[in-house]
């Protein structure tokens, strides 16, 4: 009896030791390779630096002060928020409908449809921007089509009107990320035990009743995960914006990440002077905004969950 107990503690001890060994590689990679660049990116933000000279012009917080006083920076923050909300609502919502359809039993061609709708996810974003630019241009496919049908006479300035350009950007962003969300939803749907559906069927519940009373409530936890991932991704929208609108018209679709890029490599406007320190400060702010939004979202999520838990508990008691 005693022997087996010591055996067990020995075992636990050796397991704990192994666990540490297993954790080592990732820890080394993180502290060795990931931490230094992150720290340095903070350091740069306190310097006036062109990215290539020696780092010797310490300016304290003045990059941040300038940032806060620049309307264009706040504008890009606002555009980022529009983009995040727009893409999240469309991509998360529509993908749920798609996933519900593709999860029905005895529905042929599921793998085929899945592949089709997933295709945009795997495509290099830069290429998508170029393609969409041609499709939505003044003489692009969309304008040609609606003009041939005869809905309108004049071409629609999809990409040179600020609200339309934002809408197109959101639509293309949603198009691009919808496939991934569909996969998340599908996995959520597949984790719902079949017995639940069977008993619902026995109770005589039809498709819609089952959907609203069994399926959707059970998907709540994954909804939180999907929303969070979608928000974090949207905050870092860059490739697509760069290649589709490049922030145009007149900076009305410039996102934060593009703003950072423009100052780090584009010299703001005329491409002559690189302001790496200032861009780093903007990058740090982007990170902080992402953190704040995630925390707020996490808090809200926790709050609603606690509420519904309480609710449930209350009923049981």
């Amino acid at each position: 009896m005693a022997a087996s107990k010591t055996n067990k503690t020995n075992l636990t001890k050796s397991w704990n030791r192994w666990a540490v060994v297993f954790l080592m590689p990732q820890t080394i990679v993180f502290f060795g390779l990931s931490l230094y660049p992150i720290i340095m990116s903070y350091v740069y933000s306190f310097y006036s630096w062109d990215g290539a000279s020696p780092l010797d012009d310490f300016v304290g917080l003045s990059n941040y002060v300038e940032l806060f006083q620049t309307p264009r920076f706040w504008g890009s923050f606002l555009h980022t928020i529009y983009y995040v909300f727009g893409t999240t609502i469309i991509a998360v919502g529509v993908s749920l409908i798609l996933a519900v359809i593709l999860n029905t039993k005895q529905f042929k061609g599921k793998a085929f449809y899945r592949t089709i709708y997933f295709l945009p996810v795997v495509t290099t974003t830069a290429i998508i921007g170029v393609i969409m630019n041609n499709i939505f241009g003044v003489n692009g496919l969309v304008n040609q089509t609606i003009q041939t049908i005869g809905i309108i006479q004049q071409p629609v300035p999809w990409l040179s009107d600020s609200s339309l350009a934002m809408l197109i950007l959101i639509a293309v962003g949603a198009w691009k990320s919808l496939g991934m969300n569909m996969i998340y939803w599908l996995s959520g749907l597949q984790s719902i035990p079949t017995e639940l559906y069977e008993s619902a069927q026995l109770d005589g519940a039809g498709f819609w009743r089952t959907l609203f009373h069994v399926t959707l409530p059970l998907l709540k936890p994954i909804l939180a995960v999907i929303l969070l991932l979608s928000i974090v991704n949207g905050m870092h929208a860059f490739d697509l914006v760069k290649t589709l609108t490049n922030g145009d018209p007149y900076n009305s679709t410039e996102t934060l990440d593009l703003y950072v890029f423009n100052y780090a490599f584009g010299g703001g406007t005329d491409g002559t002077i690189s302001r790496m320190g200032y861009a780093s400060a903007a990058g740090v702010m982007l990170g902080i905004f992402t953190l704040i939004i995630s925390v707020i979202f996490g808090g809200l999520n926790m709050l609603t969950q606690r509420k519904s838990n309480k609710h449930a508990n209350g009923r049981v008691i």
């Binding site: 290539a52 241009g137 009107d161 018209p249 007149y250 009305s252 406007t269 005329d270 002077i273």
Partner: protein, 489 residues
């Protein structure tokens, strides 16, 4: 079944280990010739010279079989590459000017080599006088860059002869004033039932609009020089920053008027330089405002539309007065300070001075050569080349150079321009797109920001004052030479 799928992952791992071995060992180049003793690395940042450079290098390698030159054309990420290379002392042996910092700073950081050994007085004498420009090709008496272009550069008006012919407009009738341009354009649009426009622009390339607006503007405000690299928007008569000038406001309103009277191609706001050129070549518009380099793109069959039936004239101005552009020898070849093959690099540079200007620079037809070479009618890369050159000679004129007057303005101008976030080209586009309603108010906003930035730049650089930007003995439209500068001192 399960085992099979697992096998994929395993196979991937196997490929990995094989792949790693490959990557380490398989770095051999196509070195079929065993004579090569030295390989020079060369970064080219100028797309217009890509094909000319590569055939030039082939010729060079044939003449000098012991030297191989490995050229890389930098693309969109060129700036990042230069920054990283400078940070780590890894610049290639030869490169087209690293445009991430001023030449003086490159030298102070020990990145670029003094080229005086190559540029003896005799060699320097073969070049055009104006190419030796402070902080671009030279620092004081020392040469740091082999100049490629003469520095003359201006925007002109290209016209499509097919379109003009279709509407019975002769080449003598090519518009010289705003009013003429508007009338001709409206006529074309009406007679074609709205399918063809008078003028098309590449306004998405806001740097191009910036250039043409500044240059066209000199016919209204001649004291505003046109450089976007050096002391942008600074008036060299009174040393004040000016954006809300009559010229800028009038040009913006004029183009808005053209747009509203269907004289301007509505696609202009969406087009960059190349798409605008393609539209122009396809006969969608009669006129296009483009740089002197755009002729070489128009005739190019591979990267351009391959269109030949065009002519070129100065841009129309408000009252038909002339305009000017600055002349700045920016682009050239630099040599890395830490090159280990200085002998071979010199061989290459000498070979370039001997053959490069005719083969590469004039061959491309994009710019005038820095070396004083005459390009005869037969040697011209395309028939209109000499027309472009003569407009260039007329319009591109040297303006005062603050760098030459006071070396410390280099840092101040760097600080000043770093603080700018508006450009007139972008504002023009915003106005045409309806994002800006009151161009004057927007220009005032931009001016305020620029004035602030300029003043703090002067304050922040001890040895710089506003005086460095005031040139009383400068007469716009007359070349401002080193002698004029000395006279001022």
């Amino acid at each position: 079944m399960k085992r099979k799928k697992w096998g994929i992952t395993f196979a991937a791992l196997t490929i990995l280990s094989a792949g790693c071995a490959d990557g380490a060992g398989e770095n051999e180049e196509e070195t079929d010739n065993s004579d090569v003793e030295t390989t020079l690395t060369f970064w080219n940042r100028l797309p217009e010279l890509e094909s000319q450079f590569s055939s030039f290098i082939e010729d060079f390698e044939e003449k000098h079989p012991e030297i191989a030159v490995e050229m890389e054309n930098l693309g969109a990420s060129g700036n990042q590459q230069f920054q990283t290379a400078i940070n780590n002392d890894e610049l290639p042996d030869i490169f087209v000017r690293a445009n991430v910092m001023p030449v003086r700073q490159l030298k102070e950081q020990g990145q670029i080599k003094n080229l005086n050994e190559v540029f003896t007085d005799e060699v320097r004498g073969q070049f055009r006088d104006e190419v030796w420009q402070e902080n671009f090709t030279v620092l004081g008496e020392d040469v740091y860059q082999l100049p490629l272009y003469s520095g003359k550069s201006s925007v002109m008006m290209y016209y499509n002869k097919d379109v003009l012919g279709k509407f019975g407009i002769s080449e003598d009738e090519v518009p010289e004033t705003w009013e003429e341009l508007k009338q001709v354009s409206m006529q074309i649009n009406e007679e074609s039932n709205g399918s063809i426009y008078g003028l098309t622009l590449g306004a998405e390339a806001s740097w191009l609009s910036d250039l043409f607006m500044k240059q066209m503007g000199t016919s209204i405000n001649p004291e505003m020089h046109t450089s976007i690299e050096v002391a942008k928007n600074v008036n060299y008569k009174d040393g004040e920053v000016n954006l809300a000038t009559d010229a800028n406001i009038e040009i913006m309103n004029y183009l808005k008027d053209l747009q509203e009277s269907n004289a301007l191609d509505p696609e202009s706001v969406e087009n960059d330089e190349l798409t605008a050129i393609s539209n122009f070549a396809a006969g969608r518009a009669a006129f296009f405002f483009g740089g002197n380099w755009d002729g070489s793109i128009l005739v190019n069959e591979e990267t351009g539309p391959g269109f030949e039936n065009w002519g070129v004239a100065p841009m129309p101005t408000k009252n038909g007065h002339p305009y000017y552009a600055d002349s700045l020898t920016k682009e050239g070849l630099m040599v890395s300070e830490y090159t280990e093959n200085w002998e071979e690099v010199q061989t290459f540079l000498h070979y370039f001075i001997e053959h490069g200007y005719t083969d590469v620079v004039a061959g491309s037809g994009a710019h005038q050569t820095a070396l004083n070479v005459e390009v005869s009618e037969e040697d011209a890369p395309f028939p209109q080349y000499n027309d472009i050159t003569s407009i260039l000679d007329e319009t591109s004129i040297q303006v005062p150079d603050p760098y030459l007057r006071n070396n410390d303005t280099i840092g101040a101008i760097q600080d000043y321009q770093g603080g700018l976030s508006y450009s007139v080209g972008a504002m023009l586009r915003g106005y045409l797109q309806g994002e800006i309603n009151d161009p004057k108010a927007e220009l005032m906003k931009a001016e305020e920001e620029a004035v602030d930035s300029f003043e703090s730049a002067i304050e922040g650089n001890e040895n710089v004052s506003r005086e460095d930007f005031i040139y009383e003995n400068w007469t716009p439209f007359e070349p401002y030479t080193r002698d004029d500068m000395e006279e001022l001192e």
